[in-house]
């Protein structure tokens, strides 16, 4: 496991979401996964998609339960909401101490970030309150042999693809925020704090991209399959 972090230290956040913390000693990935009761293939796929955006986790797809993924995705949400966003906001607030930046510019930056943060939170809430519950219910109904026809019909009114997209504007805002700082904000006397803010924004972007990647490449195909199974069960009911 130590080798994994030597290879890509960005993965530390990912490990934390699995409740794995530093001090691995020489334990292998497999040993640590067993200790934490983590599905090894699932762990490897998550880590691999994070490390290499072109990695496509095809082989193990069928083995994963949607609930497992949602659990992970919710932990990343919690990380954004409770750790990353407040951290960046506090850095931006600290810009107020820098008198070489115009007050109007500090306010512009703070407002823009607040605006971005608001949009990201709205997006996260939508997933937490509508998308994930839908997927969990779908999984439950499919596992339950005695699920009623009404339950199934109600579920079949929805499709995961209605929830997709919409990431666009949130992503674009983050992109803009980075460019405003990199290209257009007049340079302050000491740019260390802005460097830190930029670094954090890049990290957040990397993490968000991976989050979206996991949704698109792993979660959506699993849900697609469940939706197909639901439809075929309903047709059997019909006959």
């Amino acid at each position: 496991m130590a080798d994994v972090i030597h290879l890509n230290h960005h993965l530390l956040h990912v490990l934390n979401r699995f409740n794995i913390h530093l001090g691995f000693g020489d334990k292998t990935v497999e040993t640590i996964c067993n200790e934490h009761d983590i599905h090894l293939d699932f762990f490897l796929d998550i880590v691999n998609t994070f490390h290499d955006a072109s990695y496509f986790p095809l082989q193990h797809l069928q083995k994963f339960k949607a609930g497992m993924l949602i659990n992970y995705l919710q932990k990343t949400h919690a990380y954004y909401l409770n750790v990353k966003l407040p951290e960046i906001a506090s850095y931006i607030e600290r810009l107020n101490n820098d008198e070489s930046i115009l007050d109007a510019h500090k306010k512009l930056l703070a407002d823009f970030f607040a605006d971005y943060q608001h949009e990201l939170i709205v997006h996260i809430n939508k997933e937490e309150q509508r998308v994930y519950p839908y997927i969990k219910k779908l999984e439950k109904v499919l596992q339950n042999d005695s699920a009623s026809r009404e339950e199934m019909e109600e579920l079949s009114n929805y499709s995961i693809h209605e929830y997709e997209a919409e990431h666009d504007d949130v992503e674009a805002k983050l992109f803009d925020l980075k460019n405003i700082i990199i290209k257009y904000l007049p340079p302050p006397k000491d740019s260390r704090l802005l460097n830190v803010i930029l670094h954090e924004l890049f990290e957040l972007e990397l993490d968000l991209n991976n989050h979206g990647h996991i949704e698109d490449l792993i979660l959506v195909p699993i849900v697609d399959k469940m939706e197909a199974a639901l439809r075929s069960q309903l047709t059997q009911f019909g006959q």
């Binding site: 109007a104 510019h105 512009l108 930056l109 407002d111 823009f112 607040a114 605006d115 608001h118 504007d169 674009a172 805002k173 992109f175 803009d176 925020l177 460019n179 405003i180 290209k183 257009y184 904000l185 007049p186």
Partner: protein
């Protein structure tokens, strides 16, 4: 820049077309070429089909009724190189970014094509605010002040489609995609004043 430049070659003579292709391949920039050897009535239609970055055109193949004024959306983003066989009016020459006469020396032709490529990569990496055209700046201001594409089109007496093309170019040049991002840019560059926004309600979209 995309690795492969798309070039439209409008020229009736087989030999000239082959010569041009040889010239291009010696320059060493990867390209894809679309050859047309017939008279063109509707240049915009051809451009929207081929979507070239550079169009090398023998003006003899443009029919009289062809609109070639560089104002349409299809024509505004293409670099035009005239392929001249005979004497042409200065009026015609003025419409081209560059001109090659088929009797020119090889070195001269090379120079023109290389300039065209350089212009192309400038377009691609154009990021300084002063590289926004007057028109783009006026559109940027209106966007920042919260106008929709429709409203901008009405105010400037241009089509919505043209507004969208300008907005695409603004985004490409500035590296800023969202309306609120463009608003921040406009304020930072003193194109608009914060007071003009009418409260922060406009900013948070």
């Amino acid at each position: 820049m995309n690795n492969r430049v798309c070039i439209l070659l409008l020229e009736p003579s087989f030999l000239v077309r082959e010569g041009i292709k040889t010239l291009l391949s010696q320059i060493g920039q990867a390209f894809r070429i679309e050859e047309v050897d017939t008279v063109i009535d509707d240049l915009d239609k051809l451009l929207s089909r081929v979507k070239p970055e550079i169009a090398m055109i023998n003006p003899a193949l443009l029919a009289k009724k062809t609109i070639f004024n560089r104002d349409t959306d299809q024509q505004s983003n293409v670099i035009f190189i005239g392929l001249m066989h005979d004497e042409v009016s200065t009026n015609t020459i003025a419409k081209f970014d560059f001109c090659i006469h088929i009797n020119d020396e090889k070195a001269e032709m090379n120079k023109v094509v290389e300039q065209a490529y350089r212009r192309l990569s400038d377009l691609d990496t154009d990021t300084e605010s002063n590289n926004l055209s007057e028109r783009e700046i006026s559109i940027l201001k209106l966007v920042a002040l919260g106008n929709t594409n429709n409203e901008i089109a009405e105010k400037l007496f241009i089509s919505v489609h043209t507004v969208m093309t300008h907005r695409k170019n603004i985004t490409r040049k500035l590296g800023i995609k969202t309306v609120s991002g463009l608003t921040v840019y406009a304020i930072l560059n003193k194109l608009i004043k914060v007071e003009e926004l009418g409260g922060s309600a406009n900013f948070v979209r």
